[in-house]
Point group: C2
Chain length 232, copies 2
């Protein structure tokens, strides 16, 4: 049977971002590979699961997401049962653990079926108005200032020469610092989109040129979940 | 009021990939900016819309997606009405028209709200098992063989040095040709994921090393909608 990749809400209620059939499919599965069993159990319960949660089997992902996926995790699929893969929020495997389980499933010849749900990277990109015909997700940028400035210079050059979009994230307590560095080091014509608390009640998504951001003063994003996009 | 980015099904039934609240939100909107009014009307009808379709207003996007978004398209938002942006399939603005409308909305200070739905790039990436911590969507690769080989060499180097994932698409009638070129020119250890007809009944997603693909013979993908991913 198959490994289903099951997205979970980012910070919103279930019906806002999880399709009806995704919930139904999740309710049909007995074996789960998850980041944390406690959160997964709570989520399945909240989604209207009618049977006994105690009968479900949860395997937890190694936090370091190393190469060691125990054989037993994917064995149910080889024995004829579907398996669900879930991360703490959003789409497993995208800026989130899970890819190694999927990789191992392919190696074992297990069918992999991705289900639709919220991915903050896609949502931010679509809402930014920046070029979505080619783009790069850089993950976390370097922490140290010299390396960060070097990376930003590379991004600036890439944007100006290819009109591509760069997307990246930052540890929430460093958000204000990275915005300051961006505003102080990049070409004023480049656009910066700040997307914070996507799908949430306090969702904030605004795209302006660096030049305009400098004049308007960026919002205080300390400790908020953010995605940043740079482009033209 | 806001510009809502409304995703539509790729090739599957609505409840499989469109959350309940996205449909409800769409039903509350009167003004739409769409790729084709005919398809949009048909989709809204099929989604269970109870009021008169004739009362809805559709503005069509210029097929070339040039800079000319007529002022009237976004005027309803300035006058206090929500607007819905829809493409023919998937997420507007991502490998699809729509970004220029969103960009103009930001310039006019209109709030932009992205709604959740299927994005074939995210689904393919999550299902590939390849690195989702950093990745690049390259859009279409060059058509001419020398430029294509040069681009593939660049991608190969990028994968081997940074373990990044490259995602790209091809005109459906050239799918078999690009796979042949990939199999004949890249390092055998690099992994190729072929994702075809994502979310559809004949969905096919498999990741193997170039070396393994050469031994197994790739499926016939002529004229099928595909996404390709290369990584490690």
């Amino acid at each position: 049977m198959a490994l289903f990749i099951i997205p979970t809400p980012i910070s919103e209620n279930i019906k806002k971002t999880i399709p009806e059939e995704v919930i139904k499919r999740m309710h049909s599965i007995k074996y789960f590979i998850v980041e944390r069993a406690r959160t997964a159990r709570r989520y399945i319960k909240a989604s209207g699961y009618q049977s006994k949660i105690e009968d479900l089997v949860f395997f937890e992902l190694d936090k370091r997401d190393t190469q060691n996926i125990p054989d037993e995790y994917l064995k149910p699929a080889l024995d004829g049962y579907d398996i669900g893969l879930m991360s703490e929020a959003g789409m497993p495997g995208i800026a989130d653990p899970g890819a190694l389980v999927v990789s191992k499933a392919h190696e074992l010849g297990i069918e992999v079926k991705p289900l639709t749900g919220p991915s903050s990277i896609s949502l931010a990109l679509a809402a930014s108005g920046l070029n979505g015909q080619n783009f790069t997700f850089d993950g976390y940028l370097p922490v140290k200032t010299p390396e960060l400035k070097k990376k930003l210079q590379f991004i600036e050059k890439d944007i100006l020469s290819r009109k591509t979009t760069h997307i990246f994230i930052e540890t929430p307590y460093r958000n204000n610092r990275i915005i300051e560095t961006i505003l102080n080091s990049l070409n004023g014509k480049i656009k910066l989109c700040i997307a914070s608390e996507i799908t949430g009640e306090n969702e904030f998504i605004q795209t302006k040129t660096i030049y305009q951001w400098k004049k308007t003063k960026a919002p205080d994003l300390h400790k908020k979940t953010c995605i940043f996009l740079l482009g033209k």
